[in-house]
């Protein structure tokens, strides 16, 4: 297909990535390429290797074989300190559970990654409040996150991920613990705000309805990327590239 999207540089890529855990082979040569500004979904059944692929792309896991590239730079060969720096400065994360510190307030949780990156306290909290407002939970800044509903907590996680102005947000089953209406709201906010900010999103889900928020969808089966389902997404990406 001669779409303009083919000629664009990828922001993130895995090339023939293999990853095992003991005797269990999770990825058998997974190759994907994500374009800048794209909302990219990785679908697959439980145990297919989709989360492992996301963790390899995000530099959380090191592949046993193959290559991972981000922004023109090979990342699988970086040492742990360099990968930690990359994750802290260029990536944001939204997971299903356990990403917020329940003893801290909502504002503290959003400001925390900024403070770790040496952003001044006043600026960090101002930025946190701006994002909490945009996520519609501006009045929850003083609440401890342990007191929030599941949907509110996920909005805090999205605010925290976006507050860092990352190049990529990695989201692993971001609505997995939410009812469908609350999940839709979180997806609307995550994808809407990411598009506004031009942030690339790599999303892992088993839920087709969540994947349908993406521009492009691939299927992972038995550790291999087996199908690209996102024709509409490719058209959207091509239109974006042409602009």
């Amino acid at each position: 297909m001669n779409s303009p999207v083919v000629t664009r540089a990828h922001l993130i890529e895995s090339r023939d990535v293999v990853k095992s855990f003991g005797q269990t082979v999770a990825l058998r040569g997974a190759t994907v390429a994500v374009y800048p500004g794209e909302i990219f979904a990785i679908m697959g059944p439980s145990g297919s290797g989709k989360s492992t692929l996301l963790h390899c792309l995000a530099g959380i896991f090191s592949p046993d074989r193959g290559e991972v590239w981000f922004d023109g730079r090979r990342t699988d060969t970086l040492d742990e300190a360099e990968r930690t720096k990359l994750r802290r400065t260029a990536f944001g994360f939204v997971f299903q559970f356990g990403q917020l510190v329940p003893e801290l307030t909502t504002a503290d949780n959003v400001a925390l990654p900024l403070l770790l990156n040496r952003v001044r306290r006043r600026v960090a909290y101002k930025t946190a409040q701006t994002w909490l407002d945009r996520l519609g939970i501006g009045d929850k800044g003083a609440n401890r996150t342990g007191e929030l509903s599941g949907g509110e907590a996920q909005r805090v996680a999205v605010a925290r991920a976006l507050a860092m102005a990352p190049k990529v947000i990695f989201a692993d089953e971001p609505t997995g613990s939410l009812d469908s209406l609350t999940g839709e709201k979180v997806m609307d906010l995550l994808t809407g705000l990411a598009r506004e900010a031009g942030t690339t999103v790599v999303l892992v889900t088993h839920d087709a309805r969540v994947a349908a928020y993406a521009d492009r969808v691939v299927m992972v089966r038995d550790g291999l990327v087996s199908g690209d389902l996102g024709a509409i997404g490719e058209q959207v990406s091509a239109a974006k590239a042409a602009r």
Binding site: A208, M219, S226, G227, G230
Partner: protein, 179 residues
């Protein structure tokens, strides 16, 4: 969607002209498939013949038909019975999807590739519906939700069937399995 019963239901709110009925039908139930005027008037004619509505005297003014219609007791009873009756939960035991998968296997054609194409088509439709849901009015959003849940059910079936194609092939092509 039963057009006669829906029009009867709209008439139970208040007596209306054919034009008003068409406008409300299109606004709430049409969703991209408008009701032709001819069908409105022919339906009202049949409902009048069956004693479910009565037509009043035509009023002066512009338009094809200025005759107001009112629902009768018989029409009201029919609407009540319809609303109280749950829609048949269709088991869809012989869907086109199932037929295509089974025939593909019987003919030795790639059933998995068909399921992948079907999954892709379903995902594209879901993407369109999510856009509609995001940007549309509440009525559109709820209708999109209904379609999305059905597509989701199909997709689950596609996933389960993909995972069991080998088993299904053994059932529908026993002669091949024995080879």
């Amino acid at each position: 969607m039963s057009v006669p019963l829906t029009l009867l239901g709209l008439l139970e709110r208040e007596p209306s002209h054919g034009y008003d009925l068409k406008r409300d039908y299109d606004a709430y139930f049409g969703r991209g498939k408008q009701l032709p005027f001819g069908q409105v008037y022919s339906t009202l004619g049949r409902l009048a013949r069956d004693g479910k509505v009565v037509g009043g005297d035509a009023e002066p003014g512009e338009g094809p038909d200025r005759k107001p219609y009112s629902i009768t007791d018989a029409g009201r009873a029919e609407v009540d019975a319809w609303l109280a009756d749950p829609v048949e939960p269709e088991p869809h035991l012989q869907t086109v999807l199932f037929a295509k998968v089974t025939l593909s296997l019987m003919l030795g054609k790639p059933a998995e590739a068909y399921l992948d194409r079907q999954r892709s088509a379903h995902m594209r439709r879901m993407q369109e519906l999510i856009e509609l849901r995001r940007n549309g009015a509440l009525v559109d959003a709820l209708l999109a939700d209904h379609a999305l849940f059905h597509l989701e059910a199909d997709l689950r079936w596609i996933d389960v069937t993909s995972a069991r194609l080998t088993e299904l092939a053994a059932v529908v092509t026993p002669e091949r399995a024995q080879e």
